[in-house]
Symmetry: C2
């Protein structure tokens, strides 16, 4: 077991993810943190996001275009906008875990899975409608 310390920076990063319920990117978290402590570096933000995700204290959401972070740590799926990259909870309840089936089929030792829906968010739909005049 590795010994972990409670640093000011780590606390700030955790606080950012808790406060921002918008599925922030690493950069969004950096902006929040940087506002409160301009000395914190982006590298440190990444290091702490990875640590917190590893510990299961936050959830990492993989999307094309980069990772986002979620204060909700229960398994749930997400939608990502193919135009602006915004992320939202999918709001569908998860079907039974099929991880075991995949394990049998492929020989991979399966540790989990994630589903990402792709679409266009309401804001970008409005923008498109405005353009199509």
């Amino acid at each position: 077991m590795v010994q972990r310390r409670n640093t000011r920076q780590r606390t700030l990063v955790a606080e950012a993810v808790s406060a921002l319920h918008t599925h922030p990117s690493a950069n969004d978290v950096y902006a929040y943190v940087h506002e409160r402590d301009p000395h914190v570096s982006l590298g440190t933000v990444y290091r702490n996001l990875n640590l917190l995700a590893e510990e299961g204290k936050i959830l990492e959401v993989h999307t094309p275009g980069g990772s986002h972070y979620d204060f909700r740590t229960d398994d749930h799926d997400h939608v990502v906008c193919t135009h602006c990259g915004s992320v939202a909870d999918a709001g569908v309840s998860r079907h039974r875990s099929i991880d075991d089936d995949v394990e049998v089929n492929t020989g991979y030792r399966v540790t989990g899975h994630f589903t990402v829906f792709e679409g266009v968010c309401p804001a970008c739909q409005a923008k498109q409608a405005a353009q199509a005049s």
Copy 2:
């Protein structure tokens, strides 16, 4: 409708994805193509992979660490190895599309979704077992 041409390069890229049934990355495709025509550039490989995927002639598989390409164009899910990045078909049949539910829940105009399972491939499992001596 854009006019598309049949170039030697585009044919080679399509051929590579058809021939390689290993869910190749852009680099793998580049290696295959480069072997038959050393003048073809990586940029061209990317441009053609994107075009072919857009046309639905090949499937783009998003994984953490980069895209992979699949000659199978029917909707199906994948497993990715968290150690070496190898990709395989998950081999599970897809549950009914819940895209519409997500659309209702979120307001996003949903165009599709993809599920990626994470795990450790048989080869990497063997490597781990050998180390743990």
